[in-house]
């Protein structure tokens, strides 16, 4: 399309069209990411994110950040290198959390009546803001991967602790001690989720005694760095224009 045949006739009109385009892209991006990220997170993080009695100090802390840094890394790669827009991680996590809340509220609670205080999603926003902030301030993929990835892993547990701590208060129940979260899992019968598939407090970090959460968080941070690199390149590749046959784009 040559300039003489432009669809817009004035600069003001061009600005208006460009802005309309902004909203359309953002809207589409938000919902496409919501769908893809949500499915991905359910398949990889699954039960760890669904139930409070899976949110332990070892595996949840380790698994959730590792599998959730994926989409933020990829979308950041696209938005930063093509547009210098540092909100890739935040837009992903906002999409994911909206999808999760809709699902947990309407289906887990509205359809199967699991109390919301038992099946709410994990909070990923602190890590996302820091990841985007570091991308903005450093402007470098390597720095974001190393510092941001580590921060992503480290911020996860403390970012969720104010929400789950009240559920880790112990109770004595028929002669056994358990946390309120364990009790939720016991009281609110899940036919398809028997107790033994619960993967909590398993692993070889016993030597760290009760301070196992920070160790898990560091480990999670290190793996998040690697996953960040990997998904960053997925994002780069996906944001390429080589799919389109026209040469001048």
């Amino acid at each position: 399309m040559s300039a003489s045949q432009s669809a817009v006739r004035s600069r003001a009109e061009a600005v208006k069209v460009s802005r309309t385009f902004d909203w359309m892209i953002l809207f589409t991006l938000f919902f496409v990411v919501l769908g893809g990220y949500h499915i991905h997170y359910m398949l990889t993080g699954g039960d760890w994110d669904f139930w409070t009695d899976w949110k332990d100090r070892r595996l949840w802390v380790t698994v959730a950040p590792i599998v959730s840094i994926t989409f933020p890394a990829a979308v950041q790669a696209c938005l930063w290198y093509r547009y210098r827009l540092p909100f890739g991680a935040v837009v992903c996590v906002l999409g994911l959390l909206l999808g999760e809340w809709v699902n947990r509220y309407l289906n887990f609670w509205g359809w199967t009546y699991f109390p919301v205080n038992f099946c709410f999603p994990s909070n990923l926003i602190p890590g996302a803001i820091v990841l985007d902030g570091i991308m903005l301030l450093g402007g470098s993929m390597t720095l974001t991967a190393v510092v941001g990835g580590l921060a992503w892993g480290l911020l996860f547990y403390p970012g969720n602790w104010p929400i789950i701590a009240p559920l880790h208060v112990p109770v004595e129940y028929n002669g056994m001690m358990m946390t309120l979260a364990d009790l939720q899992g016991y009281n609110y019968v899940r036919t398809g989720t028997p107790e033994y598939i619960r993967m909590v407090e398993k692993g070889t970090l016993r030597t760290f005694g009760k301070d196992v959460a920070p160790v898990s968080a560091f480990f999670s941070g290190f793996v998040s760095i690697i996953i960040y690199f990997l998904w960053h390149f997925f994002g780069r590749w996906f944001a390429g224009t080589s799919f389109v046959s026209s040469e001048n784009i």
Partner: protein, 414 residues
């Protein structure tokens, strides 16, 4: 080629939309009506449930009922199913319509998974508190790791009242009494709302200015560095510092508010106490067993020997929770679910008392529509066409003994 690419693009977009709606519509499995579709051999040769009792047929919200009985862990456990070394006593119900207030095997509370021994009988009890009104099919259920759910008999139970009145009071070890149904809900909403708002604020800061086309053009023309202003950097620093500060203070204040917390509790419970069944004085040998497809009847030839000191009669054959009774010997007084009870389904060619020391070979027929309704007849299509079940004999004093049978089954199609 272009057309193809367009199509692929369109299709992947549709797939993503479908995926997003699928994810949002995901509901954890709650229904419990897999009982009939489960392979017949799973129900016949794994866990045999008997002496089942549902203490009430109608329960008000907040009232409790007990589901109790015994289960025999079949010694001829099929090779294709993992042994119940890690098993969990569950309840088959459509979601948490009843909450499980307690569950016991042999008197031991079993909120966790347990290890069961083949050939042993266990006594169990589940205390259920009514939560959601409706008519519900309530089953006993044993989940076996590597074997899946093994569903016991189910009975229709009615819950009346309103779920709004449901409460689940719990007293913690720190002395606080709370309602677990709604506990911590406001706190959860508060933190999620706060963080979501902060995320939106970050997004809003960036999207208020023109985004994609002008910024893309600027980068293409080598002016990428002009896109991030000094203010942008300051805002970025404020957000990062603010996030870390909020996380740190929230963490500290939470620890002050909840100084005592414990990790989630998990771990396998071993050494479940088996139930002592009365000593067996009767021996049974299965000479042959056939299933007559057109007649919906199973026929077995049994060689029964009485080594005891009291004459015995066969009263019941129980397989996959279906009870075939000889009403002349045994009548059900526990209001066992109708569809699983064949009150006169057991015919014995000679069921006169078998005197001590005697041996008799009899034809036993177990016939009922349940063979079809509960798809037990599908047994003949199983990879290992065997049947198994429990025989209950009664002596003159009414004392019961349980004998297990396990033998190949030959189908008869004509």
């Amino acid at each position: 080629m272009k057309l193809l690419k367009d199509k692929v693009a369109k299709l992947s977009f549709v797939a993503l939309l479908a995926a997003s709606s699928a994810a949002m519509l995901y509901t954890p499995t709650a229904a419990a009506h897999g009982e009939k579709s489960q392979a017949a051999f799973m129900r016949m040769r794994t866990i045999h449930w008997f002496d089942m009792n549902w203490s009430k047929e109608e329960v008000k919200v907040n009232d409790t009922m007990t589901l109790s009985g015994k289960f025999f862990v079949f010694q001829g456990w099929p090779e294709t199913v993992d042994k119940p070394e890690v098993a969990f006593l569950n309840v088959g119900e459509p979601g948490a319509v009843f909450i499980r207030q307690g569950s016991w095997i042999g008197g031991q509370l079993v909120p966790r998974s347990v290890s069961l021994e083949l050939g042993e009988t266990y006594e169990f009890k589940v205390l259920l508190k009514a939560r959601r009104p409706g008519d519900w099919h309530v089953h006993a259920m044993m989940n076996v790791q590597g074997g899946g759910p093994i569903i016991g008999p189910g009975k229709w139970t009615t819950i009346t009242g309103s779920m709004r009145d449901f409460v689940n009071p719990v007293t913690t070890l720190t002395g606080e009494t709370l309602d677990l149904e709604t506990y911590n809900l406001e706190n959860t909403y508060f933190w999620h709302a706060l963080w979501y708002a902060l995320g939106l604020a970050w997004l809003a800061y960036w999207i208020r200015k023109p985004m994609f086309i002008p910024r893309s053009i600027a980068i293409e023309s080598g002016k990428a560095n002009t896109l991030i202003t000094a203010t942008d950097r300051k805002v970025g620093m404020a957000f990062v510092a603010g996030t870390i500060a909020i996380v740190a203070t929230a963490m500290t204040s939470t620890n002050e508010k909840y100084p005592i917390t414990t990790p989630l509790q998990a771990g396998l419970l071993r050494g479940m106490k088996p139930f002592e069944m009365p000593a067996k004085t009767v021996t049974v040998k299965v000479e042959d067993a056939t299933y007559r497809v057109p007649g919906r009847a199973m026929q077995m030839t049994l060689k029964i020997t009485n080594n005891g000191d009291s004459a015995v009669r066969l009263g019941e054959f129980n397989t996959a929770s279906v009870r075939f009774l000889d009403s002349a010997v045994l009548e059900d007084t526990t209001s066992y679910p109708d569809d699983l009870l064949a009150e006169d389904g057991l015919t014995v060619s000679d069921n006169s008392p078998l005197a001590p020391g005697q041996t008799r070979t009899v034809q036993v027929t177990a016939s009922d529509a349940a063979w079809e309704v509960y798809r037990l007849a599908d047994l003949i299509y199983d990879p290992d066409s065997r049947f198994a079940g429990l025989l209950f004999f009664f002596d003159e004093a009414g004392k019961r003994q349980m004998i297990t049978v396990d033998a190949p089954l030959i189908p008869v199609f004509i």
